[in-house]
Amino acid sequence: MTTSAHGRAPVGPAPENWAGPVPDPLTDPARTRRIGEPMPRLEGLAKVTGRIKFAAEHAYPGMLYAALACSTIPKGRITALDVADAERAPGVVLVMTHRNAPRMNPMPGFGSDPKAGGFDTLPVLQDDRVHWNGQPIAVVLAETQEQADHAATLIRVGYAPEPAVTSWEEAVANGTAPTTIYGGPGRRELGDAEAALRAADVSVDEVYRTPYHNHAAIEPHAATVLWDGDELFVHDTTQMVAHSAWSLAKIFGIPEERVHISAPYLGGGFGGKGLWWYQVLAAAASRLAGRPVRIALTRENVFRTVGSRARTEQRVAIGATADGRFEAIIHTGASATSRSADLSEPFILPAQCTYAARTFKLGVEVAYLDMMANTSMRAPGGAVGSFALECAIDELAVKLGMDPIELRLRNEPRQEPIDGRPLSARNLVRAWRAGAERFGWDRRNPTPGAVRDGEWLIGMGCAAATHPYVRSPGAAARITLHRDGRAEVEVAAHDMGMGTATAQTQVIADRLGLEPHQVTFRFGDSRLPGLVMAGGSQQTAAIGAAVAAAHRELLAQLLKLVGDGSPLGGLEPDQVGSLDGGVAALDDPSRHESYADILDRAGRDRLVAEAVAQPPEELTARSMHSFGAMFCEVRVSSVTGEVRVTRFLGSMDCGRIVNPRTAASQFRGGIIMGIGLALTEELVLDDRTGRVVNASLADYHIPVHLDVPEIDLIWTDIPDPHAPMGARGIGEIGITGTGAAIANAVYNATGRRVRDLPITPDKLL
């Protein structure tokens, strides 16, 4: 390799095809300076001083406050709607119901179009029908929030209820239906797994259950909306600005360019912050009232009107030879959904990729309830699917009398287990070994209930974590290079706390050969280029690929500007790269000219390069997944059944880590949500009415500080040659495996197998 005086090599154009043999030059540590640094968050000071403004914190002259009235039956028709008292209440400007709401198109369902962003496809406030218990049926606008809230309680509603399916048991009894996983097959089979299971030397066959979960971002959903003629501006809290803008345009029948969404900061998202009813209702009401509107959902509104992770019931059966080779993996079952969401909880994702087996039978079906549309939540499928699969493996290890790590290592695949795609930088075995050593796994007593400290039983457990590498098509980036050497990079992406802006600033600095302070990364606005959803842990890769594409374009444009007098004269775009604030020849970095000089000489103030990322061919060509080995130690009170997680280690294999500080926080965040999934979280829907029972943060228990141990992390940091920067996703994987690691540790501590989450004290008495 040819390097510059500083010992670094220029960063040439990234590959045209990420599935091909040539990796991103930024996978090479010799070409990077900032990637891998624990840079503190750029917006840190603004956040700790309270200066960041969230969606409900923008005020406009004449702004009205919105409050919702919601249905109290699961299904039926509204037969009477008396809004007179509400309309007369002090400060009230408008009461909007299906009678006076403007006519709107239904929400474009996510996946129905690349830009569709609705998780609920129902028309909003267009008729007298009620589809779930808690559905908004009226919006009140008033001069103050207090007035709006009060008036909303004065609305009187009569219903003609219709029979509704509100219990899981009834929904399952009605028959479950085959479904898809994000448009892909909901069933995967290889060989005759049931026969292989029956013939296996040793087998387990169990049913695991997981309840509804709520994202419970601490910032409740909110929007501040303004119309200017037929232009709609929204301060929103959304993980999908571009999707939301396009979808709102469809709903209101206006051109896409007339909707502008700004969402630079979110107070957490976790999959729950997309396009829901509230933005539509606020925009519709604002239009009717002719004034700006702030809608800030109450916590109860959030629980009742924004979708949650669906309940599941999963069968996992594994058959193995006496020496622990998997003959059959069966992972089937159903998740709850509403007709208007029709979205499965794809719990078979881990079983598709984690282990080799001779036969497979995987399938998700859905059971229909008359409930609020469900949606994706951190590691859809993986979070709850890994719980079932990784507990079953632990159960099998017990039956085989084998160490559960050894059992997993014996079934490490050499290719994608079902379809045979080649693996890309899979280093899970290394993660297991390093993790086991660091955690002190060899000190585990395999006999359940054998380790005790007073009333506390102590156990260790482990599980594999996995999340697919995702990169959706359509991401784009615009690089504006200024004569003074600064660069602005714009992408319609999001930073809801993951550290995207910070990490991308590091990546961009390295790609363009600049210092981070010379880079401005702009995001969170639908007017910016491209289509990037903060979902699937894909932003690092999606933005990385878009910026890489724009960089390729930028190099080409720069070469067009250099004249014969330049040291770069005569070179082709793929012969040059960025280095030290300029462009250098790849094979001779001493042939270098700074961006400033190039622009100066060409008499240009700035240069703009915009491009769409290459289509994600690597997804279909390779088996690309993030992995991890999760280890935990629990203490279980033999008196009360209370469980405390006392130690936790995540040994991660997610490709290259761009920023160890923010990445560690992402992993920890996922793991902590996994502690909630394992021990405390259950959104309860009343069987009789489909109504959320625990619609408050006092009753829906997310982990508190005392539930959270110090979480140790290590990672392989081995670049994936097919991912931009060599980095696969890190945002969601932490929650996968964690539930099973804890449940397995509880088994080791107590000898009790809890197969229905959460593991609350009552289940361990």
Partner: protein, 328 residues
């Protein structure tokens, strides 16, 4: 929230006068009342702020304490005499809510906080006899994991959520009241009512009657005391079951005992049946367990909360065993 008027009481007499207005309610720290008003569960016309009433914690000549109704929960828990002489009370208070809530909450407000039954809170969508007499109870056949196993009725099975009250019940606390007809005292264990046919009547307080103080007699000399709370997460959660106990053991025999349970009944539950079984008996786990059983023999489990019987039995046994270890 409905519109309401606000008045600040200068002293107890002033409070009682203001509190006699129709639909008036006393306002302590507001941590329960404001929440209930915001969710439209209650809609007082006037709030009489009683945080200006006495918050003094005075030592009594008999070695007991008199705690002003407006004393904040934190102030009680951190008070030297409480920590030294009533560890069960300090610990119970510290087990409740969060530090922020304890900094706001008053002694009287804590005692009179309402149930956390989710159906009680869901004014628009659920039926509740306690909130709307005669409406029916959505909890009895609904999700009732957090509900009562003792003292419930077909009309209501809600639990009283306070931790502090469980300790007060075990400490033989007495509540000082003042109303239009003068002042009186009532043992804490007689302040709250069981629901029976009238869950809407939650206490023995008369309309407009004010709590002015709580009095703690001294604990039996030589007794150990403690509080233990079992919950669904490690902190900031209401009790599934909690136990407050006072125990004195002399030469292996229980010579004084007071026991109260939280999270299991519509009021702080003084376990007198168990106490009778314990007094004079040998201080060993078998006794403790048997006593807990006798108390819980009356338990009536609902669909989701049968576990509380076993949990209460185990927790009582463990707490008494701990105290016996300490007291010896």
């Amino acid at each position: 929230m409905n519109p309401f008027g606000y008045a600040r009481a200068a002293d107890a007499a002033d409070a009682v006068r203001l509190g006699s207005a129709p639909r008036a309610a006393y306002l302590g720290g507001g941590t329960n009342l404001v929440d209930l008003m915001r969710r439209n569960v209650v809609a007082p016309a006037t709030l009489v702020d009683v945080t200006g009433l006495s918050s003094a914690i005075e030592e009594r000549p008999d070695g007991g304490l008199l705690i002003g109704a407006a004393a904040r929960n934190t102030a009680v828990a951190e008070h030297r005499a409480v920590r030294a002489r009533y560890p069960l009370l300090a610990r119970a208070i510290l087990a409740g809510g969060s530090a922020q809530i304890r900094n706001m909450a008053t002694v009287a407000g804590n005692i009179l906080q309402r149930t956390r039954c989710p159906y009680f809170y869901d004014v628009a969508g659920s039926r509740c006899n306690r909130r709307h007499p005669g409406q029916g109870c959505d909890a009895i056949d609904g999700h009732n994991r957090d509900h009562a196993i003792l003292g419930g009725s077909p009309a209501c099975v809600a639990t009283h959520p306070s931790d502090m009250c469980v300790a007060l019940a075990a400490a033989d606390a007495v509540v000082h009241l003042r109303g239009a007809r003068g002042a009186r005292v009532l043992p804490l264990t007689e302040l709250h009512r069981l629901p029976g046919d009238h869950p809407e009547i939650e206490t023995e307080l008369e309309a407009g009657e004010l709590i002015t103080a709580v009095e703690l007699p001294p604990l039996p000399p030589g007794a150990a005391s403690g509080y233990r709370k079992v919950r669904d997460r490690a902190g900031y959660a209401f009790a599934l079951v909690s136990v407050a106990a006072v125990l004195r053991v002399e030469r292996g025999v229980i010579t004084a005992v007071r026991l109260a349970l939280g999270g299991v009944a519509p009021k702080p539950w003084r376990a007198r049946t168990a106490e009778q079984a314990l007094l004079g008996a040998p201080a060993d786990p078998a006794t403790f367990r048997a006593a807990a059983r006798t108390e819980l023999a009356a338990a009536v489990p609902l669909r989701h909360n049968a576990f509380k019987i076993e949990l209460a039995e185990r927790t009582v046994t463990a707490v008494l065993a701990d105290l016996a270890g300490e007291a010896r």
